[in-house]
Symmetry: C2
Subunit: 251 residues, 2 copies
Amino acid sequence: MKEPAARSERKFPCEQCPLMRRKVFRDFNKKELDFVSRLKRGELSVDRSATVLAEGTRNPHLYTVLMGWGFRYKLLPDGRRQIVNYVMPGDLIGLQGSLMGEMQHSIETLSPMTLCVFERSELMSLYREHPDLAYDVTWLASREECMLDENLLSVGRRTALERLAYLIAFLTNRASAVGMFNGSAPLLPLTQQHLADTLGLSLVHTNKTVRKLVQKNLIRWRDKGCEVLDLDQLAALSGWDPSDEGIRPFI
Amino acid sequence: MKEPAARSERKFPCEQCPLMRRKVFRDFNKKELDFVSRLKRGELSVDRSATVLAEGTRNPHLYTVLMGWGFRYKLLPDGRRQIVNYVMPGDLIGLQGSLMGEMQHSIETLSPMTLCVFERSELMSLYREHPDLAYDVTWLASREECMLDENLLSVGRRTALERLAYLIAFLTNRASAVGMFNGSAPLLPLTQQHLADTLGLSLVHTNKTVRKLVQKNLIRWRDKGCEVLDLDQLAALSGWDPSDEGIRPFI
DNA sequence: CGACCTGTTGATGGGCGTCAATTGTGGTGG
DNA sequence: CCACCACAATTGACGCCCATCAACAGGTCG
């Protein structure tokens, strides 16, 4: 695990926030934009395989992901790992730690990532001065809860093949909603170990399940990643309806 | 599934809210109390085994549980059920539906339950007029997320015996924090089918795992319920640290 | 070049699912 | 009052899904 390497220059002033160019994200009005801009402390750029937040620590910051992939996980005392969700551009991370003290999970990157940094202590002023934005923060927390429900349903009640199909469909759906492929073929930057730790399966069995989806021509396995060939059939195979969420907020 | 039977009389004006008597919940000041009191639409009393909220529906209300047990679950198209969490006094339910439209899960009671009813449409005025309370709503959502992370870790990475031990310890811990046993022996009002659907196991295997905990003298199985004999050993067996949460908000 | 990571495949065994039958209990209607 | 049924718990038999162990191939990097 590499240390996050912070850089101080601000490549993305809020007025040119890369997220604002995406249609999925709602617009800010001038006043909100000014406020958020003042809230912003800086940017953080980290490498691939870096730990952004660590379980058991206290971090004075909140982040919004601007670019890159990552995942959120927990460990058992003996080292068994469970990935609970993935993070992508527009996701707010570190909120749990801000509200409840110590972090209860860790976050690691799957690609280089840049994040927008906010001061944890300023969160209350956001609630005081911008109820609309506060509402949005709650909305984001609620959406995360919704995804966790889905993942739990999957791990608890789907077969290995269904689980894998669901996971790939879920990630592809989320990622393309925020324009991570824009046009090119969907490619998820994961190892099979990541899949295994998300699905609650062993690495070996995950591999054998991956092979089955490859043989069905639903995916192709590339250098360190999974190329998605048929999103609809993956969703159908898992019995999942990828309901489109429409416009959504971000901070 | 029985229909919820609504009653209109208000047995618990906010000033005498049964939750306020509990030490775990924080105090309101007068202004907040007045505001919440105006927000309150009434009370809902439902029987055991009633469906309070149903997946796929839209409900104009938000609820805070005042008394009773329940659980939150999702279904696969073919009927497989996954219980994602349990609800107890002080829990805010229906928030997801309020923020995101349709309910993505259902809630059913395990005992008679009384709930405090709020109008969904008033939520925004709470955010505008009482930032502190808005912050608390987010806090509650965040806590739910934290519990889901734990449950996902459990289902994904623990063995059947560890999973069951964790679940029982987790529920006992939560329930005694809100004073559901006050003094008497901890008794969880669940069937083994509920356990199975929470743990991601079959009913038969759940039964055999329950027997193992009974033989270890950690629990005793009663008429439709599980009596907890040794909470500490259950937690230790599952490798879980039941960190005490301290004072917490409610609405 | 050797160490390491990632993917792959085969062999073996155990944990857990499925099927099936039995018991006990409470509720319901004849 | 009792036959009947539904539900919850329990237990045994059987087999499959998936974990574990092991070995190997290819690629990357120091």
